[in-house]
Point group: C2
Chain length 348, copies 2
């Protein structure tokens, strides 16, 4: 039987994540019959090469999705809100990398290593979780499945590429200005749409996304709410503090968990990580081996190390989890969802 192949559209093809989606589709050899690159009006007309062919980016419109079977969206929440339903209406399955539909009860929020079967109930749109959530839940799932997690406290060390290419440019430009003793003029970070902008070069900024009423930022609330939705475990206590760093790509996370069942040890956590799909254990303190953002960049895996049992709480464990926020945190996870859809026979 000839392998099926599909009509694919990538919305937001010119952005940081869109580029990684194209690279990942190519690299993992997703079965593509035709591919259409779509974007906002502003970026339409740009040329992008894919598998050696030069393609012109078109403005995304409802009609753009005629005949499309799989549409990967990563062009901001408002584009997804406006066009994802149009794509579905025309018969496409949408994998949406924005936050637009993540907490929608009708929309599965999927990390294939954790809840692939949630895809079975899709109604056309599937949401890709927030970057910082994906790497955390995928790394913790083998522990959660076997021991249960009652409490999870995470402090993040997040890269600027999560805020887009403008943020990356600002970080590098600002770094050079500071090295040269020049004045800086922050305009993008921490949140391009928020009122104030702060120095990111040689700094640590405890704000990602805007603030909510309860004092947590939206990024922190995403980690809290999405973790509960993906795992299906709403009784888990989750808290997050999200911090932006002058790192281009690669989110790091300092995670503390308390498990429900007795008997877990540092060695057992290491064994679980060694067997976990998509996870690489990097944990040899005696050789100074631990995950680093600089090593994780460009890699598909989630790296886990610094695994320690708490000194007081026998069911408490500390971990350091690092992944490429544009790959496993975004593009790779979206493409993995697409592969799962194919494998399950859901993509028609």
């Amino acid at each position: 039987m000839a392998e099926q192949s599909f009509h694919v559209a990538v919305v937001g093809a010119t952005g940081a994540v869109g580029q990684q989606m194209l690279d990942t589709l190519d690299r993992l050899d997703f079965p593509i019959k035709t591919i259409k690159l779509l974007s906002s009006k502003r970026s339409a007309g740009k040329k992008i090469s894919f598998k050696g062919e030069e393609l012109t980016v078109e403005e995304a419109k409802p009609e753009s999705f005629d005949g499309v079977q799989l549409a990967l969206f990563s062009a901001g929440g408002s584009v997804s809100k406006a066009l994802a339903p149009e794509a579905v209406k025309r018969g496409a399955i949408v994998v949406d990398n924005t936050s637009a539909y993540r907490m929608d009860n009708e929309v599965p929020l999927v990390v294939p290593e954790v809840n692939e079967d949630a895809l079975d109930d899709h109604k056309g749109i599937i949401a890709n979780p927030n970057c910082s959530t994906i790497q955390m839940v995928a790394a913790l799932e083998p522990i959660r499945k076997e021991y249960g997690i009652s409490k999870l406290i995470v402090s993040t060390y997040q890269a600027v590429s999560g805020a887009g290419t403008e943020a990356v440019d600002e970080m590098y430009e600002q770094s050079r200005q500071i090295l040269d003793g020049e004045d800086i003029d922050p305009k993008v970070l921490p949140v391009s749409g928020d009122e104030k902008h702060y120095q990111i070069a040689f700094n640590a900024v405890p704000q990602i996304d805007v603030f909510t009423e309860n004092g947590f930022t939206f990024e922190e609330m995403k980690m809290i709410n999405e973790t509960k939705k993906i795992t299906g475990d709403s009784s888990m206590n989750v808290a997050a503090t999200c911090v932006r760093l002058p790192v281009e790509t690669g989110h790091s996370e300092s995670i503390y968990i308390e498990v429900e069942k007795d008997g877990l040890s540092t060695d057992k956590v290491k064994q679980l990580m060694e067997k976990a799909p998509g996870v690489t254990l990097q944990d040899k303190p005696e050789e100074q081996l631990y995950p680093l953002a600089s090593d994780a960049k460009g890699k598909d895996d989630i790296f886990v190390g610094r695994i320690r049992q708490d000194l007081d709480e026998k069911n408490g464990f500390h971990l350091w989890v690092v992944a490429d926020n544009l790959l496993k945190g975004a593009a790779l996870n979206s493409v993995q969802i697409a592969f799962s859809l194919v494998q399950k026979g859901l993509l028609k």
Copy 2:
């Protein structure tokens, strides 16, 4: 009555902390009769100006302390081990900024805002705590005193100046090399004396000081053990994950605490911080006001913000605490101890 003044020695006068000690003694007008600048053999002969006078740094030897009443040590643990007892033998009180004596039962470990009265029992040597510990315990003390703290989990975001001037130089040089597309050759960080060295520019490195047997680093164990000693509360559960960032000066900390007594609220924590000595509250999410390392540099205060009640645990609170690691984290705290000694009539 004429104010008393004292014969002072600064050991490690040419280092990053030593320089800040001299600045702080000058700026806070510590009553100095004479001052002697001491260092290792390597740095002896250097000239340093103090209060408009050019002083020559001398090699620290036992006899250097003849006639000295107060000796501020910050030249590394081995120098303190060798010479602090010699200084005491000659009648000086030593305030030691290294880790050499911190966990010694005979040596008070002092943050004046927390346990000034521990000075009363000194036997000649007083230890200045680790930088990351000082800002944390000083900020938390008003909460601990009134509500008790049962659990404390901290993830740090630490500046390179804590690892000395060589580390600062390496960070800036490496940043420029990366911006210029050149190869880098890490030689100092994360720990100059350890086997392997990693990129610090545009990275986050989860190792400060060498590893101990239990998988925690010495820096993490310092935070755990020193917090218990300073507060006198050995039943408090404390855990730390210490991470080095490409920030020159200013340690940030993401802290989670659980208090023992019911009734604490976010507003009450803010009120306690507003009244806390040496603490400045910076917490207005609606105006994007929160502590930043870039703002804290060069300031004496500890800055506290991002105060949030945990969403599940009513006695759980999250805070973001930032301070200049060379000032409150080192030099300022040492000089504050010296002032406390004067005020208590202990310096003779």
